[in-house]
């Protein structure tokens, strides 16, 4: 399985065969607390790297979610509509947000690998 890459704004992406699956990190879901609603884009929407692509809402507040890579939305996680708490239970698994057809694989270089992200998060605590 391809490696996870992270943004500084706490999204993750995993690219396989030119398609990136993305979501938010475990640190992000911990910070949010209980997720109660997610607003996902319609498939076909084109986004830029670090452009807003979704909204995640906890009991307390709404937060914007940014695309780790530029591309076109090809699929969204329908299970989140009925069970947004999947994001708390499995942020890097069943709690994925959407899949993007990657426009420029070179952009991956701007993201952090697992180790770099772990030390980045450690620095925030």
């Amino acid at each position: 399985m391809a490696e996870l890459r992270y943004t500084k704004s706490h999204e993750w992406a995993r690219v396989e065969n030119g398609v990136a699956t993305m979501g938010i990190s475990n640190y992000a879901q911990e910070q949010l607390g209980d997720v109660v609603y997610v607003e996902l884009p319609a498939p076909g929407k084109k986004v830029t790297q670090l452009g807003q692509v979704a909204v995640v809402e906890s009991v307390k507040a709404a937060s914007e979610v940014y695309a780790p890579l530029a591309g076109e939305v090809v699929e969204v996680n329908g299970a989140l509509a009925d069970d947004p708490a999947l994001i708390n239970r499995a942020p890097v698994g069943d709690g994925w947000f959407l899949k993007l057809k990657v426009a420029n694989a070179g952009e991956l270089g701007a993201l952090m690998d697992e180790a770099a992200y772990a030390s980045y998060v450690a620095g925030l605590k």
Partner: protein, 373 residues
């Protein structure tokens, strides 16, 4: 994901601060205090704990104010629209400090504590409230903001059962009454009140006794600690106003749907700050009203969300909004023009640029379960 920034202003601590940290609470700045927004179980679990069993809140940041003087109640009536002269000994009443223009300085609980009048006011307003009291009434009564006292709220259907183990008479108290009681070796003032919509108590004790009482109550199997996050979702579902959001120096008690708290004698005789606007609004109806709003979809409408009517014309604004854990979906409070305030009126909530269908509903969202005796 977007992040919020934290401020570096030094925050005050309640006598229970170390207990919150030891319990693993997430601490945030609120009204100048470092307060627990949630404990490790999280806001949803804490909210449901209070609705189904009992929860313990640290509300020591709130202002506890005492008034002394023979005419203290009569004097206080000049600043609030409630009937206080008829308040029996050890009865509690909800009211508002009103401005000359009919806006609201703060909302508060007043207790006739026999030899004194005791007030509980919002943390963010306590200094302003005391200034107001001293400026208006200082010549005739003594006013003191009590430092050195803690305040806890024990709320939920099992609150009475739990508190009766420590203060046996507590379970016989009626809602909105108070009494002095001895808990262990400590002199406490217990009032049967709260701000969750559930039965419950607020317990005032000297600061040095707070930690011991907190631990005794938390040791009860029915009780868990509850943070400010669930306190907000509970009061929102109960349809209760939060100062600085649903009421402020511009809104009047009548617009806010608080006319029930204005005494009959006060309606006839006036004699309180803001009476001109407030009595006029009582007679003619206000031009806008606070209403309950139920979004039809699942998207929460937060504070500041524009409200439109069915034709797309702006009719108001959301003042509190979020997810109601017991409702199982979004709920909101907001002000709308009087013509759009009737229960059932279809509304559009402008969330992220899109009108989302909603309607005006009767408050509260979750029925109150106060103990009437």
């Amino acid at each position: 994901m977007s992040e919020s920034s934290s401020s570096s202003v030094p925050l005050r601590r309640t006598p229970l601060h170390e207990a919150h940290v030891a319990l693993g609470a997430k601490m945030v700045g609120f009204a100048g205090y470092d307060m627990p927004v949630q404990y490790p179980e999280g806001i949803l679990a804490e909210h449901k704990q209070v609705r189904s069993s009992a929860g313990l809140f640290d509300v020591s940041h709130m202002g506890q104010v005492s008034l002394w003087g023979d005419e203290a109640m009569r004097a206080l009536e000049r600043l609030v629209p409630a009937d206080l002269l008829e308040l029996p000994a050890w009865a509690v009443r909800y009211t508002q400090f009103t401005r000359e223009d009919g806006g609201i300085i703060d909302d508060l609980m007043v207790t006739n504590a026999g030899h004194r009048v005791s007030l509980v006011v919002n943390a963010s307003r306590k200094e302003a409230d005391v200034e107001h009291l001293v400026a208006r009434l200082g010549h005739s009564i003594d006013v003191a903001l009590l430092e050195g006292r803690a305040l806890m709220a024990l709320q939920g259907p099992y609150a009475a059962t739990v508190l009766a183990r420590h203060a046996p008479r507590a379970s016989h108290m009626a809602f909105m009454t108070a009494m002095p009681a001895r808990i262990g070796k400590v002199d406490a003032i217990i009032s049967r009140s709260g701000y969750t919509g559930e039965d419950g108590f607020e317990i005032s004790v000297p600061s040095e006794a707070a930690l011991d009482l907190w631990r005794r109550l938390l040791a009860e199997p029915e009780v868990k600690p509850i943070g400010l996050g669930a306190r907000d979702s509970l009061r929102l579902e109960a349809g209760l106003c939060l100062y600085g959001h649903d009421i402020d120096d511009v809104t009047s008690p009548v617009e806010a749907g608080l006319a029930w708290s204005i005494g009959r004698r006060r309606r006839n005789d006036g004699g309180f700050l803001g009476e001109q606007r407030i009595l006029t609004e009582l007679r003619n109806g206000p031009s806008r009203r606070r209403v309950g709003i139920l979004p039809e979809g699942k998207a929460p409408a937060r504070e500041g969300t524009e409200i439109h009517d069915a034709e797309g014309k702006r009719v108001g604004i959301v003042t509190s909004g979020g997810f109601g854990p017991s409702v199982g979906g979004p709920v909101a409070l907001g002000y709308v023009e009087a013509r759009a305030a009737k229960v059932g009126t279809p509304l559009g909530l402008i969330v992220r640029g899109e009108a989302r269908p909603a309607k005006v509903v009767a408050l509260p969202f979750v029925p109150h379960r106060y103990f009437r005796g």
